[in-house]
């Protein structure tokens, strides 16, 4: 079952967050931007973990909500100058949540393999909406005005030099808030009920849980969080394109989850950093990054079954296992 890091784990994660926050003290802008990318993808993968690791739903259409969140900035641009982030972020969340609610309401009428196919197909439909209709601003993407830091006419103008640092810290803050929120959610009975659905959906229904609405709630919330991630992507890059909604991004988020560890809430964060790091290294060695990505996946699915969060030192693994249940009666 999915676990949340305990006291030591949380301490280690906090230390890692501080290390990321300290990057601007010594790293060049390139690495700050790379870290920002990893942070945004970590939000995205974390939002998908709510479906995969918590509720037990494997969706291949999650990138659509990421893209809708990013395009929210572009759509707001139609109303004039750069919107305040205090407006664009809630708008992104709302749009992504609405899209996820509509897709989820239909897709959750199916299960398993068919759920995968339906989410993928509806994700592709949203891809076409931004790819082919005037709504999206073109198949090749469009530059967007970065949401501003303004409130009641006061604006904090960020200089070009400061921007990588500011975006890094902002993205870090959003990721930490998202992680903390999900950790809290898992402690509520809503979170426990979702975990119960993953363990045994049929039993949850017969115990009196209307699992359809619980799953739809999780799907909508996960979509809204993906919208947050997409918004932060658009704000960091100042560019959005239909490719953000493409289904290979959903598959890559699943890869981050598996890479980091399916069994831990923080797994996708580790996975996202590993994914971005490996991608960067591969990009420096070869132009054929997809080859590297494909081979890495093969290694993970064939060998590294519990992800990075599941790696244990050999000495720890030899600790005595909990005593097995006494063999009393045979059926």
């Amino acid at each position: 079952m999915l676990t949340v890091a305990g006291r030591n784990g949380t301490f280690a994660l906090g230390a890692a967050a501080l290390a990321v926050a300290a990057l601007p003290l010594f790293a060049e802008a390139y690495y700050l931007e790379l870290a920002s990318t990893a942070l945004v993808l970590a939000m995205f993968a974390l939002s998908l973990q709510l479906l995969v690791g918590v509720t037990g739903l494997v969706s291949l259409g999650h990138a659509a909500f990421f893209g809708v969140g990013a395009y929210a900035i572009h759509l707001l641009g139609a109303f004039g100058a750069a919107p305040s982030v205090l407006l664009s972020l809630p708008a992104a969340v709302l749009l992504a949540a609405l899209a996820a609610f509509a897709v989820g309401a239909l897709a959750l009428r199916t299960r398993g393999f068919f759920f995968l196919m339906t989410t993928l197909a509806f994700g592709q439909m949203l891809f076409f909406v931004f790819h082919d209709t005037p709504l999206g601003g073109g198949a090749d993407g469009v530059f967007v005005a970065r949401p501003s830091f303004s409130l009641f006419g006061l604006e904090w103008v960020v200089s070009r030099q400061d921007r990588p640092t500011v975006m890094l810290l902002l993205n870090l803050g959003v990721l930490v808030a998202m992680y903390a929120g999900l950790a809290l959610l898992l402690r509520t009975m809503f979170g426990r009920a979702l975990l119960g659905i993953r363990a045994n959906e049929h039993r949850m229904r017969s115990m009196g849980f209307d699992t359809y609405w619980l799953q739809l709630g999780a799907f909508t919330l996960a979509g809204a969080l993906a919208g947050v991630a997409g918004h932060m992507w658009g704000m960091t890059q100042a560019f959005v394109s239909p490719e953000l909604l493409a289904w290979h991004r959903s598959a890559e988020a699943l890869l981050m989850i598996l890479l980091g560890g399916l069994g831990a809430l923080h797994g996708p964060i580790l996975g996202a950093f590993a994914f971005v790091g490996l991608g960067d290294i591969a990009g420096q060695i070869t132009e054929r990054q997809r080859l590297v990505e494909g081979l890495v996946i093969l290694v993970v699915v064939l060998g590294l079954r519990h992800g990075i969060a599941g790696i244990r030192l050999p000495a720890l693994r030899r600790l005595p296992a909990p005593a097995p249940a006494a063999k009393e009666a045979a059926p």
């Binding site: 494997v58 076409f128 289904w247 598996l258 054929r288 080859l291 093969l298």
Partner: protein, 286 residues
């Protein structure tokens, strides 16, 4: 009027092509419970085989058996080497395994043949218009593809209804636990289903090459449309895939011809309607 007739025929021909791809997809899922996202890449490989063989020998006729034989071999290899280990794994693992295969197939294609668009010429014999009714005439090659696909579909129904291995496959697709009960050789059934499914997808690619031309990632669009076919048609049945494919083929073609503003969206709206009305698919036995 002849315009509509041509679009209808186009839709039927496109739908039959979709049937070749989605029948393998649905059988592989029905029998082995495995999701093969790389099924669209197999279609792409078939199209590239047509491009290479037809370009090298000047004849598409050689490309068709090459695609079928290559498909049987590649399917058997994939089944024995990889998929066999994944039948009982979680969906997440299956998704990522087959996603990795997509990346590797596409990268292999890029290394061997580059990233350009290519057209594949229609065989000279069939590069004519066949007069139909009145002043309406229709491409001989499209007609040939239509007839060939119908023939293959007929052969598949016969094989499934009339042969031992066929009835074993049907039993396995409807109730996987039947395989053990009937004492059937599950390993052999899996191998046959996977190899045949792969060969059908690659044959579809080779047949489609002159119509859709040949380009990187061409399998993605077909894969997703085939998912729509399977969802609309219904769970794990060849007949469901057949009628679903025809319906989607016709709707997609007609909407692109007559409702350009809804272009790519019509089939998804149809899928949404089916999910609301009959979430198990239009042609599934309830």
């Amino acid at each position: 009027m002849s315009g509509l007739a041509a679009q209808l025929l186009n839709g039927v021909q496109y739908g039959l092509l979709l049937f070749l791809i989605s029948s393998g997809l649905t059988l592989i899922f029905g029998v082995m419970g495995v999701i093969n996202l790389a099924h669209g890449s197999l279609f792409m490989i078939g199209a590239y085989i047509a491009f290479v063989v037809a370009g090298g020998t000047g004849s598409l006729w050689l490309a068709l058996p090459a695609a079928v034989l290559g498909g049987l071999a590649l399917g058997a290899l994939l089944e024995r080497g990889l998929f066999r280990r994944f039948y009982h794994r979680e969906h997440l693992d299956q998704v990522l395994l087959t996603f990795a295969l997509i990346l590797l197939f596409e990268e292999g294609r890029s290394i061997l043949l580059g990233n350009d668009f290519h057209s594949v010429p229609v065989p000279a014999v069939l590069d004519v218009a066949v007069p139909m009714v009145g002043d309406f005439s229709y491409s001989a090659y499209r007609l040939a593809v239509l007839v060939a696909c119908l023939g293959i579909a007929g052969a598949m129904f016969l094989a499934i209804e009339r042969t031992r291995i066929g009835s074993a496959i049907r039993a396995a697709a409807e109730k996987p636990e039947m395989v053990d009960l009937l004492g059937l050789d599950a390993r052999r059934i899996h191998l046959v289903v996977f190899a045949v499914g792969t060969a059908l997808a690659m044959l579809a690619g080779a047949l489609a090459a002159p119509l859709h031309s040949v380009y990187p990632n061409m399998g993605h669009g077909f894969l997703i449309i085939c998912f729509v076919v399977v969802v609309v048609g219904g769970v794990g049945s060849i007949a469901g895939a057949f009628w679903g494919a025809l319906l989607i083929g016709v709707v997609d073609t007609l909407s692109k011809a007559y409702l350009p503003f809804a272009a790519g969206l019509a089939v998804y709206v149809l899928m949404a309607a089916v999910l609301l009305w009959r979430p198990t698919g239009l042609f599934a036995r309830s």
